[in-house]
């Protein structure tokens, strides 16, 4: 086994060069750094709140010791599941955005901008308002169906004789999102007030109410969807060069596209089902990952996921501490951060393709 340093990549050669691995050092370092940052944010978010807790007390509580009944309760029942849910949801929205951007080959695609999140929103609001007796476990499935329907609708509307294209997809998404939001508003005004109130905070993208059941659901679905996305990522690399090239290289383009749409919708739908629509995370994280370090598709996805987790954890932390005791839903914070970044991306995208 020997190792050589090539300018940006670290190449590992095994078994007299029968297997050679190119390791993007910068990307691996960034991955480690963002993971450390994530752990730091989660640790900090466990200490702040209406019941201030020292880092030492948090650590002892997490390692199983009972410091005091209150702290034990606060950390285990409220702050820890909330922090984990924020991180998981951030990773899911980020991955959804990355997959959508790969399918549409449009750097401006984001589940909340093109109506996929709104589709999940409408489905969940409909379930809560019209059939309140339905089982809560149905929620992710209903959200998934709603998102998928919207994704299919937009894709079919965008596709014309000249083929599907970039910015039109976004504009179409804006229109469809407006209509779906109007439908949601109908349900909100027409529905019974107590049922409506129960979905109101959810709709602005709030992680307040996250509990262990939510964390469990997010973790299970991530464990299913993330490997699927990583499996698809090999063909995605070929598809970046255009459909014709990808087909020539032996990638099953059509099936990969269906697969990517389904996983993108899945990630966005499960995330939305738990915390509500969170805007712009799926837009920012993939771009930031690409800017930070050039890497292969798989590592790019992992870096995207950790960046998304950092972003939403931070948004949730800022939202609940900045104006305490008033809690600003994380969705609003990500909107406020996301818009300026979207504009910068729009400027860069326009320069390259001249819209």
């Amino acid at each position: 086994m020997s190792t050589t340093v090539a300018s940006r990549w670290y190449v590992v050669r095994l078994f007299s060069e029968r297997i050679a691995l190119r390791l993007p050092v910068a990307a691996l370092l960034w991955l480690a750094a963002t993971l450390a940052l994530l752990v730091g944010i989660i640790a900090f978010s466990l200490t702040v709140g209406s019941q201030p807790t020292s880092l030492d007390e948090v650590w002892r509580t997490l390692s199983g010791e009972t410091v005091s009944r209150t702290i034990d309760n606060v950390v285990w029942e409220f702050r820890f599941p909330r922090a984990l849910a924020a991180a998981l949801v951030g990773a899911m929205f980020a991955l959804s955005g990355a997959a959508l951007q790969n399918v549409t080959r449009n750097g401006l695609a984001d589940p909340s901008l093109v109506g996929v999140s709104q589709g999940a929103g409408l489905a969940v609001v409909a379930l809560t308002v019209l059939w309140p007796d339905a089982v809560g476990g149905l929620r992710p499935w209903v959200a998934f169906a709603g998102s998928l329907a919207v994704a299919v609708l937009i894709q079919s509307l965008t596709w014309t004789a000249r083929g599907a294209s970039s910015v039109r997809f976004i504009l179409m998404g804006v229109g469809v999102a407006a209509m779906i939001s109007a439908c949601t508003s109908v349900l909100m005004t027409y529905g019974q007030i107590e049922r409506v109130l129960s979905v109101l905070t959810w709709l602005s993208g709030s992680i307040n109410a996250a509990n262990w059941a939510d964390v469990q659901m997010l973790a299970v679905w991530s464990a299913v969807l993330l490997p699927a996305l990583l499996l698809l990522s090999r063909s995605t690399a070929a598809m970046r060069m255009g459909d014709a090239t990808a087909t020539a290289l032996g990638a099953p383009v059509r099936w990969v596209r269906y697969g990517l749409i389904t996983t993108a919708v899945g990630f966005a739908a499960i995330g939305t089902a738990v915390v509500g629509p969170l805007g712009f995370v799926g837009l920012i994280a993939p771009h930031a990952a690409r800017r930070l370090a050039p890497s292969g598709v798989g590592l790019h996805l992992l870096l995207t996921a950790t960046l998304g987790a950092v972003l939403v954890s931070l948004a949730d932390l800022v939202g609940r501490t900045l104006m305490a005791p008033i809690q600003i839903p994380a969705g609003l914070v990500t909107d406020l951060i996301g818009v300026p970044i979207f504009l910068i991306l729009l400027r860069r995208a326009a320069r390259r393709t001249a819209l």
């Binding site: 504009l171 508003s185 400027r347």
Partner: protein, 339 residues
């Protein structure tokens, strides 16, 4: 036997005849609007109330104090928003231009919410002024963003900039709401675009401004036709384009701000009506602008009737109905353009 009718003359009489016809339809819708509601007022009672008011008659009170103000608001707001949309489509040469889509509504709503909540302003003059400031700021912001993007202010960049500014201001408005929850409870309905519970006091302040802006729009219509053919054509025809654009901006801001102050943000009205009108009038703004005013007034009256009657006894906001009708048309327009 002469088979060839003079086409130009036919079209012209058609356009002239269409206007009173449209006004007649608006008048009929107005009567319907006043008659229908939680309590049905028969049409002959409506006429009687409008001509000989009897303060002791309960039906007459309903007509004069509840239904008529609301109908007047619907008429003037529908006309204003449609004309504002027509003007914007002419100036930007963007078929998707509309006060809602290009962010002017979000600017006005945010300014009103911010002014009431943070600065403690209120009242019939302060609210329209704040709305005007907000929509002017948003208009400039959207224009600057779309200029800043390489490629310039194309329909696509304008629409994207509008959508993004709307998202940003919407989030800021929600934050303002969260910070002063109690102060805003009564504005929740207003913010979804509603004509419910309007009284005449705001109409007294905002109405005259809107009427002046409408008259100015009629006066400028001829030059917009030139402008819509392109900047060079307009200059060659002797239009001072810079001055005209400034006048139109003031006009659009006044129309939007007055409408938002009266009825909250009503999306897509300014998009739908000018396009519908164009089917009949062609591309001459001397006809598009007045027809937009009349048809827009009738449209909003009809939408308001639908909003009140669809889910009785609950009432959904008028803004929701206009979005439900307008968004599919928006999607259709994008699809048609990109073919």
């Amino acid at each position: 036997m002469n088979m060839i009718a003079p086409p130009a003359v036919t079209v012209r009489t058609g356009r002239w005849l269409g206007l009173p016809l449209a006004m007649g339809i608006v008048a009929a819708t107005l009567c319907l609007h006043i008659a229908l509601g939680a309590k049905f007022v028969p049409l002959d009672v409506v006429f009687e109330a409008l001509t000989h008011r009897d303060p002791a008659n309960f039906n007459h009170t309903i007509v004069w104090d509840l239904r008529l103000p609301r109908a007047l608001v619907a008429i003037i707001v529908g006309a204003s928003l449609s004309v504002a949309g027509a003007l914007m489509q002419g100036v930007t040469r963007n078929p998707l231009a509309e006060p809602g889509i290009l962010g002017l509504m979000a600017g006005a709503s945010f300014a009103v919410v911010f002014g009431i909540g943070m600065l403690g302003l209120a009242g019939n003059t302060a609210i329209p002024m704040m709305a005007a400031g907000g929509s002017l700021g948003a208009a400039c912001l959207v224009y600057l963003i779309s200029r800043w993007v390489p490629g310039g202010a194309t329909p696509l960049t304008l629409t994207l900039a509008g959508a993004v500014v709307t998202a940003f201001l919407g989030a800021l408005t929600s934050v303002a709401f969260l910070l002063r929850e109690n102060a805003f409870d009564s504005y929740r309905v207003w913010l979804s675009g509603s004509l419910a519970g309007r009284d005449l006091s705001m109409l007294m302040t905002a109405g005259p401004v809107l009427i002046v802006a409408l008259v100015v729009a009629f006066a400028l219509a001829r030059q917009i036709t030139a402008l819509a053919m392109g900047e060079e054509v307009a200059l060659a025809l002797g239009v001072r384009t810079g001055w005209l654009k400034a006048q139109l901006l003031v006009c659009v801001v006044a129309l939007t701000a007055g409408s938002v102050a009266l009825a909250g943000p009503l999306g897509f009205v300014g998009l739908v009506i000018p396009h519908a009108v164009r089917l009949f009038t062609g591309s001459d703004y001397r006809w598009i602008v007045p027809y937009s005013a009349v048809v827009g007034a009738g449209y909003l009256l009809a939408v308001d009737v639908a909003a009140r009657m669809m889910f009785r006894p609950a009432e959904i906001s008028t803004g929701i109905v206009t979005a439900l009708i307008g968004a599919p048309i928006f999607v259709y327009l994008i699809r048609k353009r990109s073919r």
